[in-house]
């Protein structure tokens, strides 16, 4: 499949990232090249410690990179000043994490409306949209509950609602089913597929789960900080490989 550069919503080239704890230096990413098309659902898989979460953090701009470049919607994300990058995340990105990362002091609906408020939406508009999303994820009757009053699956639905509430161009999910039982995990996966299809949002999912991988359009496999299979060309991607 031939695709023009602009069709890629994410385009990472030669991304290096090293962690240093003072005494020890750990190369986490050793030259990642990755392209993701708009509306695609991509699963990044690999053994523990291979750099999946670091890839997600670096590509989404949550973490800095040592070298290389990451374009998201044709913008070099790491060249943006911190405030602009934050604004960009607020407007165009959604995040789903394994441990939900909901704000425990806010109710479900308040958690969901938070990205809209950050983007400057009016209270009324934000509330309505948040309730709609909660309805879509089947939690309209839990809108005023605090996270502590919800089950794991319900919390993850709230997280998904929050990730999608601002119509993001791209949703980053880090082990979204990792903390859930298989039945709830299945529900969450179905929900993500439905939202991906209905809204055409791009999903990049870091996962260990074979089931999650199977529902994705494409699987990117990693090992030792390298993409060993990007699911596109079937060729290994490494520091010395050519840029597509």
């Amino acid at each position: 499949m031939t695709t023009g550069q602009n069709d890629y919503i994410v385009h990472a080239t030669g991304v290096h990232k090293t962690y240093s704890t003072g005494k020890v230096t750990v190369p986490a990413l050793r030259g990642i090249d990755l392209r993701v098309r708009r509306g695609e659902m991509v699963a990044i898989m690999g053994p523990s410690g291979c750099g999946k979460t670091t890839t997600l953090n670096c590509l989404s701009g949550l973490d800095e990179i040592d070298s290389g470049s990451v374009e998201v919607e044709s913008q070099l994300i790491h060249d943006l000043p911190d405030d602009e990058r934050s604004d960009y995340r607020a407007r165009r990105m959604g995040f789903i994490f394994q441990l939900y990362n909901l704000l425990p002091v806010l109710t479900a609906v308040e958690n969901v409306e938070m990205p809209l408020l950050v983007s400057g939406a009016s209270s009324k508009e934000a509330r309505q949209r948040a309730l709609d999303l909660l309805d879509q994820v089947g939690l309209s009757d839990r809108a005023t509950h605090l996270p502590a009053e919800l089950s794991g699956g319900q919390r993850q639905r709230v997280t998904i609602a929050r990730a999608l509430v601002n119509h993001p161009a791209i949703v980053w999910a880090d082990e979204p089913t990792g903390d859930l039982d298989s039945e709830t995990a299945q529900e969450i996966m179905e929900l993500m597929i439905r939202l991906n299809k209905d809204a055409g949002e791009t999903f990049i999912i870091v996962t260990h789960s074979r089931e999650v991988g199977e529902i994705a359009n494409r699987i990117v496999r990693m090992r030792d900080g390298l993409v060993i299979d990007d699911g596109l060309s079937g060729e290994a991607s490494g520091p010395d490989s050519a840029t597509p």
């Binding site: 953090n57 934050s86 607020a90 209270s123």
Partner: protein, 1156 residues
């Protein structure tokens, strides 16, 4: 400083040291036995130096406050003692005549040298006394003619150098021996103070005036201050020369006594020497008659009752001896000494009540004839006064900083609860793998002890620094008052030890309590790091609680028994530990606390149900109303507050049985309870007066109402937190960018009710006291009325020396070039004499000491005192009454304070003198009184025909014609005080100086009353501000609390911060969120404290205005000061949060999300 809250410092030191060392020993033993927990406990200290520093700062604040209070008290005690010891040196007692005799005059009685020599030979064999000095002392006007400087009241002391043995040699300012015996008749020594004030030097000229006659002297040298040279401006002459100057050959007016030993050690014999001298000077025949008079069942019964009632152990013992001695067959020496003791004779007069009028009259007469001389134990008294002053200061400071200390304790508690939160999952894991609760307690105790040891030490040092700053402020106040007294910084070892131990013990106890609380955590929620949830256990059964109480009562025995059992098993470590615990418990304080805690556990379930609280509350209020000694608004209010809380709890228990949702029920019940308590305390006490009567107030009202109001307000706010959040969201609807920040910054503090409530309470309590103090300073630090009204229409006051009075001031002024009579609208004069009065018709025939103002016609004619009450037949105007007083010298008016119970300058209750009429009455009839001149015991009958309005601060005591006392005294009584009303107020200062210069020979010293009032008010404000500043130390506690809470919040919420950043929060929004969060708590605390403080201060001012009947007392808020205090509080609160907020904003989202 000798005592604190009635407990001797030495006892306090040993008890605290015992508890401290005991506790430390227990911790060391525990640490040795469980090194794993020790490591776990102290490991975080070195790992997080920033947090450790913050904790140490927070923990040491209470110690700083305690140490500063003690340090200031120490300095004051030392400074006064220094004045006494260096001022008196070897003079321990002073003997003065007790009766009047031939050749005496007004206020001056003499002792013949023959009597002195006789006395000297009588005491020659007494080894406790090593010196007697015949002395002639008088105050005279003195002038340095070369520099034209004068001193109206210079002491002139004549002593005989032949008797200096035992007193030590007098020295010159340069340290050489002072050769008094070589001095010529035309020479005089002056002390350093006199030399400074009159700018005198050796060889210079000095002129003194005696009986209007100038006497020129040459300054032979400058004597070192102290001993006979005194510390006030003093001229030193030989005795013979002094006698010659005053025309009193072989007469002296006092005898100084030196006890064996030095300046300080001589004081050890003072009590004994004084008692024996008093007994020696007692007339045995009069004492025998007095014994017979008092040895009657009616008096002995009353005396026995007084002995049983008194709490003063020394007095109780003395009265016990008196009680037995009076019933003995014959007069013994201990009875003679007791009767000669002025404290005992005061009790005797006091005990002689209404039903013993005849005995009272006779006893009082005999007491006046009992002694030939009065023995004044001047050094002993001064040193005791120094200790009492130190005790009073420390008590005062500690009392006023009680909220700050309480806030400090809350902060320590908060810190350790937060520390526990930080290690929750670690502790949960420890519990999961088998660690017991006590292990967790130990872990925290180890950590807490390490913090406490360091922070108490730093706190003591910083407290002493604060104390030094306060001493500096006090010295500037003294300097403004033109007082020569200077505080010299001094801290004693007991004070430092008590400060350290107290700080350490408070910290240790708080840590132990918080550790106990923490140890009860829920393992599952701790392991999973879920929100705080303590184990909610079913209360133990009644039998278990009763057993607990019994165990508490017998705890030391239990420890000892366990120790013995361990010894028998040769288990030395545990045996020693149990023994140490037994010893600690036997220091009583822990034992008492233990029993109280067990008792509290026993009744806790009933308190929670409300009914027991209602019983306690109603009982307390009823007791306050019914029992005279318990009367007080604080107790009554505390009882009512407990009742309201009890009713709330009872209602909750009753409605909980229905289908009401628990959270709704709690909100309704607790909100209603909080609001009702707030309303109760916010209402002025006058509202309840028809039911309660006048319960009196005092400083305790501020503390009780502070706790009740702040507690109720915080409680109400925290139970309605969501409404506050809703209101804020509504209010910030328009600011879209701020809204997400505001939502989180309010939601977080409101979700942690415990820590937010604690922090709020800390802020609110301290701000509450500061607000009350600031408003009271403003209200009472300003003059209520114009000076002229307060003084009864006078502008300048001048006093002349008793020995150099002015015959006719008007004609004298007429003859002086520099002053014109036309410069004055009025001139009046009077003499103030301490007299005793009693109502003729009253049941209580006790004599009351008051000041009598014996005035001349000019004063009576021109004073413009408004009379609050005018006796029937003497009105209708105040001027009519004063006119009547001129024509009839038996008529007098009295100050309003004599009509009600009041307090003297030391805060002691003073019973009202007049019982037939009250200040609030609408009318009065003339009251017949007897007035007695205390020295001669001559009595005259007078009639009170008016009561001076309290608006006139100068209108206190009894005001009448001087002619009234002329007949009571066997000597001519001179006018010594003159009052002037000037025609042009702007010229007051110049006229005042002209008068002083014109009447130099009379020792005239003038003061412009307006300036004097201003100075006094400035000093009052200075002291008030110092106390306010001291109390403001508590604000650091609140600010530190915010810093600690914020720092902890950054750590706790790291993941959430990461999430917020992922959601698009900018760095500035994170930072702002934390700052808003602190602002929310600080502003809410400040607003609650300030509003409640204003309400209480308003009520206090209204009550005082109503009680004192002074309409001109106006409530006013010192806005600028308040804004500065509140603004600085807010600023520093933000500053304390800024660093953690900045840290939070710098966190990379990915790092934060990874954080566990």
């Amino acid at each position: 400083m000798e005592e604190l809250f009635g407990v001797p410092m030495s006892v306090l030191m040993f008890v605290l040291l015992g508890i401290f060392l005991g506790a430390l020993l227990v911790v060391v033993v525990m640490a040795l036995r469980n090194t794993v927990m020790l490591k776990l406990g102290i490991r975080p200290i070195s790992r997080r130096p920033g947090m450790t520093a913050l904790i140490i700062i927070g923990v040491m604040l209470s110690t700083i406050i305690i140490s500063a209070a003690f340090g200031t008290a120490d300095t004051l005690t030392y400074s006064i003692r220094d004045v006494a010891i260096n001022g008196l040196r070897n003079i321990d007692e002073i003997i003065v005549p007790a009766r009047t005799g031939e050749g005496d005059d007004f206020r001056r009685s003499f002792i013949s040298m023959d009597r002195f020599e006789q006395l000297q030979s009588e005491l020659a064999g007494d080894s406790r006394i090593d010196g007697l000095m015949p002395q002639f002392a008088e105050a005279v006007p003195a002038v340095n003619p070369d520099e034209n400087l004068s001193e109206g009241q210079m002491n002139l002391v004549g002593i005989d150098p032949a008797y200096l043995s035992g007193f030590g040699n007098l020295r010159t300012a340069s340290g050489d021996d002072l050769p008094l015996e070589d001095m010529a008749d035309s020479e005089a020594y002056v002390n350093e103070r006199a030399a400074r004030e009159l700018e005198l030097q050796a060889g210079g000229r000095l002129r003194i005036f005696v009986d209007d006659q100038p006497i020129d002297l040459t300054v032979a040298g400058i004597a070192e201050n102290g001993s006979f040279a005194g510390i006030q401006p003093t001229i030193l002459l030989t005795l013979s020369r002094t006698q010659e100057i005053f025309g009193k050959p072989r007469s002296i007016n006092s005898i100084s006594v030196s006890n064996r030993g030095g300046a300080l050690s001589g004081n050890d014999l003072s009590e004994e020497v004084t008692r024996d001298l008093r007994a020696r000077f007692t007339d045995r025949q009069v004492a025998a008659r007095l014994k017979d008079t008092l040895n009657q069942p009616v008096f002995l019964d009353a005396l026995g009752k007084r002995r049983d009632d008194t709490t003063d152990t020394d007095l109780k013992a003395s009265l016990d001896v008196l009680f037995l001695d009076l019933q003995a067959d014959s007069l013994n020496e201990s009875l003679v000494a007791a009767l000669a003791d002025s404290d005992i004779s005061a009790v005797i007069v006091d005990v002689l009540g209404d039903d013993m009028r005849e005995i009272q009259r006779e006893a009082v007469t005999l007491l006046s004839e009992l002694s030939e001389f009065l023995v004044l134990d001047i050094k002993f008294d001064t040193l005791r006064g120094a200790d009492q002053a130190g005790t009073a200061v420390s008590t005062f400071f500690l009392t006023f900083s009680i909220f700050s200390i309480a806030s400090g304790i809350m902060l320590i508690f908060l810190i350790f609860v937060l520390l526990a939160g930080a290690r929750k999952s670690e502790m949960g894991m420890a519990r999961a793998i088998g660690a017991k609760r006590r292990h967790l307690v130990q872990m925290f105790v180890f950590e807490g002890t390490a913090y406490a040891l360091v922070s108490a030490a730093i706190g003591v040092i910083l407290g002493l620094v604060v104390s030094a700053l306060m001493v500096g402020v006090l010295n500037s106040v003294f300097a403004a008052l033109d007082d020569d007294f200077t505080l010299q910084l001094n801290f004693t070892a007991p004070t430092i030890i008590v400060s350290y131990c107290l700080g350490m013990v408070i910290t240790f106890a708080t840590v132990a309590v918080s550790a106990y609380r923490v140890s009860h955590l829920d393992i599952v929620s701790a392991v999973r790091n879920l929100p705080e949830r303590l184990v909610v256990s079913v209360p133990p059964s009644l039998s278990s609680r009763l057993t607990g109480l019994l165990k508490g009562i017998f705890r030391p025995a239990v420890f000892l028994w366990r120790s013995i059992r361990h010894v028998l098993k040769l288990d030395v470590g545990p045996a020693a530990m149990q023994l140490v615990l037994a010893i600690i418990w036997l220091t009583l304080v822990p034992w008492l606390l233990d029993v109280l805690i067990q008792l509290f556990r026993l009744i806790w379930p009933y308190l929670l149900r409300g009914w027991l609280l209602i019983l306690i509350g109603v009982g307390t209020s009823a007791a306050t109303l019914g029992i005279e000694t318990l009367r007080g608004w604080s107790w009554f209010g505390a009882g009512v507050s407990l009742t309201i809380v009890g009713i709330g709890l009872l209602a909750r228990a009753v409605f909980a049985r229905g289908n009401v949702r628990a959270d709704v029920l709690d909100r309704v019940v607790f909100t209603a309870t909080g609001v009702i308590i707030l309303v109760f305390w916010a209402l002025p006490t006058s509202v309840f007066r028809p039911i309660t009567g006048d319960l009196g107030g005092g400083v305790s009202v501020m503390f009780v109402s502070g706790v009740a109001m702040v507690g109720a307000a915080v409680w109400t706010v925290m139970y309605n937190a969501d409404l506050v959040l809703g209101a804020l969201q509504f209010a910030t609807g328009r600011f879209r960018q701020l809204r997400p920040v505001l939502v989180t910054s309010v939601a977080y503090p409101l979700s942690s009710k415990f820590r937010t409530g604690m922090t709020l309470a800390m802020f609110a309590l301290v701000i509450f006291t500061l607000t009350v103090m600031s408003i009271l300073t403003q209200t009472f630090g300003t003059q209520f009325v114009e000076t002229r009204i307060a003084t009864g229409g006078w502008d300048i006051e001048g006093t002349v020396n008793l020995t150099t009075p002015i015959d006719d001031i008007r004609s004298e002024i007429d003859g002086i070039e520099t002053i014109e009579l036309s410069q004055f609208e009025a001139i009046g004069g009077y003499i103030g004499i301490p007299v005793q009065i009693r109502e003729v018709e009253a049941e209580d025939q006790e004599w009351n000491g008051v000041q009598f103002r014996g005035a001349d016609d000019g004063y009576l004619h021109s004073s413009s005192f408004d009379l609050k009450l005018i006796a029937e037949g003497f009105g209708p105007t105040s001027a009519d009454v004063f006119a009547a007083m001129q024509s009839d010298p038996t008529l007098v008016v009295v100050g309003g304070s004599l009509l009600d119970d009041s307090q003297d300058q030391e805060g002691q209750a003073v019973a009202r003198v007049f019982h037939e009429v009250s200040y609030d009455d609408e009318s009065m009839t003339p009251i017949e009184i007897e007035l007695r001149e205390p020295r001669t015991r001559t009595t005259v009958r007078l009639k009170v025909v008016g009561v001076v309005d309290r608006i006139h601060s100068s209108g206190s005591g009894v005001i009448g014609s001087k002619a009234a006392v002329d007949q009571a005294a066997p000597f001519p009584i001179p006018i010594t005080t003159y009052q002037f009303r000037v025609a042009n107020l702007d010229e007051s200062k110049e006229i005042s100086q002209d008068i002083e210069r014109a009447f130099l020979a009379n020792g005239m010293q003038t003061v412009v009353l307006e300036e004097a009032f201003d100075e006094q008010l400035a000093a009052t404000r200075g002291f008030f501000r110092l106390f306010t500043g001291f109390m403001a130390l508590g604000l650091f506690v609140g600010i530190a609390a915010l810093g600690v809470v914020s720092t902890r919040a950054v750590v706790e919420r790291r993941q959430q911060i990461g999430m917020l950043r992922a959601l698009g929060y900018r760095r500035s929004m994170i930072q702002l969120s934390f700052l808003f969060e602190s602002s929310f708590v600080a502003i809410l605390g400040v607003v609650i404290g300030a509003l409640l403080g204003i309400v209480l201060a308003y009520n206090a001012v209204s009550d005082i205005r109503a009680d004192e009947n002074i309409d001109t007392i106006s409530f006013s808020i010192p806005w600028i000061q308040m804004i500065v205090i509140l603004g600085l509080t807010y600023f520093f609160s933000l500053l304390a949060t800024y660093i953690p907020a900045r840290q939070a904003s710098k966190v990379y989202p990915a790092q934060a999300l990874r954080y566990e």
